[in-house]
């Protein structure tokens, strides 16, 4: 479903990603963990071409892109849905319009049909009650669930989550995690960057520990969390336990 081949990324002479190969199969939930600055978010963003690799190739659902070809990037991008740390809802549109936007602009759907589909998705994230409100009137947790509905509306083959709960108040985190868990249970292929280790353990088939721009260690959650092999991963997990 997703294949990253020898990905390297340099930002102003600084090597952020130093050669990563990764495969994600259909229906798998893969979580990237690692310290801030380890490159995990950058790697995630390459999967929908918001960030372009300096070297290497990205395949999503057998589509790939060229750094100079915007059209190929859009094609790859349309395979996946992205959920951002800071939600990034469109503030000038209501929740319903946020979810409808891609259907109307990108899929050229008729307004009535788009509205119907958007309502189904808002129902799924339990937010039909606020459909006519603007994002600013909502809590962070509600905004993030709208953002998930907005991404799902495009019927993506893969969902990408970039620290979806990091900006949320603690009491709102669970509502968002529940929605993500539901998606996992439905068999959605997902890649998640998160600091919520308990959640990562519950929801993932595979954990990828990224350290200093390379894959430090990867495997099943049980193995990664209970039997870490490398000292880097052991140190990282200890640090989290102390916090």
């Amino acid at each position: 479903m997703i294949e990253l081949q020898n990905i390297k990324k340099t930002f102003n002479d600084k090597k952020v990603i130093k050669g990563i190969d990764l495969k994600v199969n259909q229906g798998e939930v893969v979580t990237f963990i690692g310290r801030s600055g380890s490159g995990k978010t950058t790697l995630l963003r390459m999967i929908n071409a918001l960030e372009l690799p300096t070297e290497g190739a990205v395949y999503v659902n057998s589509e790939t892109y060229d750094n100079k070809d915007k059209k190929s990037q859009i094609k790859v991008r349309r395979q996946s849905g992205m959920v951002f740390q800071s939600y990034n809802l469109f503030p000038h549109k209501t929740e319903l319009e946020n979810v409808m936007e891609g259907l109307i602009t990108v899929k050229k759907m008729k307004k009535a049909k788009a509205q119907q589909q958007a309502l189904v998705l808002l129902e799924k994230v339990d937010l039909t009650a606020v459909k006519d409100q603007r994002p600013n009137a909502l809590s962070g947790g509600q905004q993030q669930r709208v953002a998930i509905a907005r991404a799902l509306a495009m019927n993506p083959k893969v969902m990408l989550f970039d620290e979806p709960t990091s900006a949320l108040d603690p009491e709102l985190v669970n509502d968002v995690l529940r929605v993500i868990k539901d998606l996992a249970n439905e068999g959605m292929t997902m890649i998640i960057v998160t600091h919520e280790m308990r959640f990562a353990k519950e929801v993932s088939n595979k954990i990828v520990f990224i350290h200093d721009g390379v894959v430090g260690e990867s495997g099943a959650p049980e193995q990664i969390f209970n039997h870490p092999q490398t000292t880097e991963l052991q140190r990282f997990l200890n640090m989290l336990r102390e916090a």
Binding site: K70, F84, S86, H92, L138
Partner: protein, 239 residues
């Protein structure tokens, strides 16, 4: 008369009365219509220039920057003179025929000159508005599959315009006041009408205070409308 005026005061008052109707005519027939037309045209130019300024093409960026630099770096009255008095001579110079004058009507020259001005100043405002929209908005639009044009049109511009409205309101007020320069290229706008009466009656103080008052009333009304429009745009953004 109810007031007991001396003859000097009576003369001043008569001059004001004599000036009022021609001034109002200048305002309604020229100052206001020219302002409205140039503001719309200017915004179209501004939008194009702003998009050129943020484009990835170095040539487009260069053209826009040059245009803005010329307009902002030269006095408007000089630009108006070049357009009105200068352009007709282009015909003579280019065709080597002294009879060939590409004459522009004063109003047309005025609209060209003012639109180019509004375009340059407002483009910087709109560009600022566009740049003030967080990068996450573009990324979110891209992430649902939008292309650059769709992103600009549906996501960035609606938000950027809202941010720009207060500053564009100022541009509009400046524009109304700048129409007072158009008398110098023979447009019969309000200030020119005032000058005509002032120079025949010698009542400079009265006439120029009257014209100032009229500009102020117009600007005052516009700023009220602008306030309403701003609060209309703000609706729903505050929780």
């Amino acid at each position: 008369m109810f007031l007991n005026l001396n003859s000097e005061q009576q003369h001043a008052l008569d001059a004001a009365g004599q000036a009022f109707m021609p001034m109002l005519e200048g305002l309604v027939k020229f100052s206001i219509p020219i302002t409205l037309v140039t503001f719309v045209l200017g915004l179209v130019i501004a939008l194009a220039a702003a998009l050129m300024r943020i484009s990835t093409s170095r040539i487009l960026r260069g053209i826009a920057r040059f245009y803005i630099s010329i307009i902002r770096g030269t006095p408007m009255i000089v630009q108006l003179f070049i357009i009105f008095y200068g352009i007709p001579e282009l015909g003579r110079l280019l065709t080597n025929n002294s009879e060939n004058q590409w004459t522009l009507a004063p109003v047309i020259a005025a609209i060209i000159g003012l639109s180019l001005n509004v375009g340059a100043y407002a483009s910087e405002i709109i560009r600022g508005g566009i740049m003030s929209i967080p990068k996450g908005q573009t990324e979110a639009a891209y992430s649902i599959g939008m292309n650059y044009r769709q992103t600009i049109q549906r996501i960035i511009l609606p938000q950027a315009i809202r941010v720009s409205v207060p500053a564009l309101g100022n541009t509009f007020l400046s524009l109304i006041k700048d129409t007072s320069l158009l008398g110098f290229i023979l447009v019969a706008e309000m200030f020119r009408k005032a000058q005509e009466v002032a120079s025949t009656t010698y009542e400079y103080l009265t006439i120029y205070l009257l014209v100032a008052l009229m500009y102020w009333v117009v600007c005052f009304i516009i700023s009220i409308v602008q306030n309403f429009y701003e609060s209309y745009l703000e609706r729903g953004y505050r929780s």
